[in-house]
Symmetry: C2
Subunit: 298 residues, 2 copies
């Protein structure tokens, strides 16, 4: 079996397992699935979860598309060949309880020809309230996952996450980062294709232990209206990042992707209050001091 | 007095008058003012209105800035000279009642030297529910305002508004358009600088008669929770337009503008529900059919 066929099957399996575990963790809501086809080739399975006990809105999407690369992308990649194949799983979860963090995960494989192909992906956490023990737990698991493949990965990919998940106009990170990597191939990693594939699966498989633990720790934490208000403010920052900076979103909007699948990452409800500033020494103010690059959580 | 000094005074007067009339129309909320200075030269008066009886959140901002043009803008404008002066009034109002429309107005003057200077601006309406009589009233006033200066203006600027206030990835207009114009100068209009200045003021002065009338017509219309829900959905489209396409917002974010002034246009609260589709033949569905380019409302 060709690598890309193995990837398709393995990524679909990851999507299935994650959906199943999230539905169990939530206990109430359920996924609605839409199967879609892409005019130029391929398609996907968009699965959206709404109105749960824990999850207010979440998407766990799989897609495998192929065909001719749009002209703009050909230029950006500086390639002549225009046949491509791309396969990935993308997740964003917006929880109800402000003490449960927003989470995002993506694993993907892109191929144009034998020479031009790579793995990319990442996982990052956006707590409305940064809880140090949770942040350490999250980064610890990511570090462990990376270390099974290469002891240099975590440090490098953690820095890339800090740099990528950054809201430049606010001068704050989207959350507490995680890992972000792109264009991984044997030449720049020393791993063979099979190992890179395994690494990609390991990142995908880290999602459930990470998020179910963070749900369990915080789902029953009581919260006030003011804390929920803060959650809505933080969600508006999340929307700003996704609409202004996120490459996946931009790429999707520019290439006439399936809009509802692309924008499933946007929060169910967000607020923009003019000049919203937390009180000195509040939990909210403390959170803001931790939305910076370079914190060593692991 | 130099033209630009006259513009500064006249634009400030427009800001003052609009704030006063809006506060009276609302009856409850009030403006908070922040005076700010720009490091490179100039500054502004940001005035934000929150928690009114009619207006949920609104901004009426004046700024007059000068100094050296950022490198990126010099390139975009293809100019060598890098001294600039820019002055403008910008308004966005998000009302509480879903039957009162969102409105946006902007008038601006930009100058680099005698040869490189122009007026720009526009006014456009984003009803959560398109009410034909209101749409006609709005466009009628704009057409009248334009006709006092040049009988070709309305048609041209109306088309430019349709093209500009367009959410490409949704294939829908932001609202029912209005007028949008840029780089107006004697060479391309046949009007002299004084007349162009007067036109700019006429657009600014049309704001109050337009919006107070639309408020009066709809402020007491009763609405259901479902109609408010629809308002939140429409507001998320407004946020998408502003963050993804609006040139003023993009320019502000890229040049490290004053973030809270730039993003005061974002809605106080917005919702993104996955695949939200109105029922057949509902008021909401009818509204969507009218969010297209090229409707002759006047």
């Amino acid at each position: 079996m060709m690598l890309r066929d193995k990837i398709v099957l393995a990524y679909q399996k990851i999507q299935d397992e994650i959906c199943e575990s999230l539905a169990i963790a939530d206990g109430k809501g359920r996924f609605e699935e839409e199967i879609w086809e892409r005019e130029g080739g391929g398609g996907g399975r968009t699965r959206v979860f709404q109105h749960g006990d824990v999850i207010e809105k979440g998407g766990v999407n799989f897609s495998a598309v192929y065909g001719k690369l749009p002209e703009a992308v050909k230029k950006a990649f500086k390639v002549d060949n225009d046949e491509f194949f791309a396969c990935g799983v993308s997740i964003v979860i917006h929880p109800i309880n402000p003490f449960v963090p927003i989470i995002h995960m993506n694993i993907r494989y892109f191929e144009m020809d034998e020479q031009t192909r790579w793995f990319g992906g990442g996982i990052d956490l956006t707590p409305h309230y940064v809880i140090d023990t949770d942040a350490r737990y999250f980064h610890h698991i990511l570090k462990q996952t990376c270390n099974e493949f290469d002891s240099s990965f975590y440090k490098k990919f953690k820095k890339q996450a800090d740099d990528y998940f950054f809201i430049k106009h606010r001068n704050e990170t989207r959350g507490i980062g995680g890992i972000f990597y792109d264009r991984l191939k044997p030449e720049n990693t020393g791993l063979d294709w099979e190992q890179l594939f395994e690494f990609s699966l390991a990142v995908g498989n880290s999602f459930i232990p990470i998020y179910t633990e963070l749900i369990d720790r915080n789902r029953d934490t009581e919260y006030t209206e003011a804390e929920q208000e803060w959650q809505y403010q933080r969600r508006s920052r999340y929307a700003e990042f996704n609409l202004v900076y996120d490459s996946g979103t931009k790429f999707g909007l520019e290439t006439n992707g399936r809009i509802e699948s692309i924008l499933m990452s946007l929060p169910p409800m967000a607020k923009w209050t003019y000049n919203h500033k937390p009180a000195d020494n509040s939990l909210e103010a403390t959170t803001l001091t931790k939305l910076i690059k370079g914190i060593d959580w692991a």
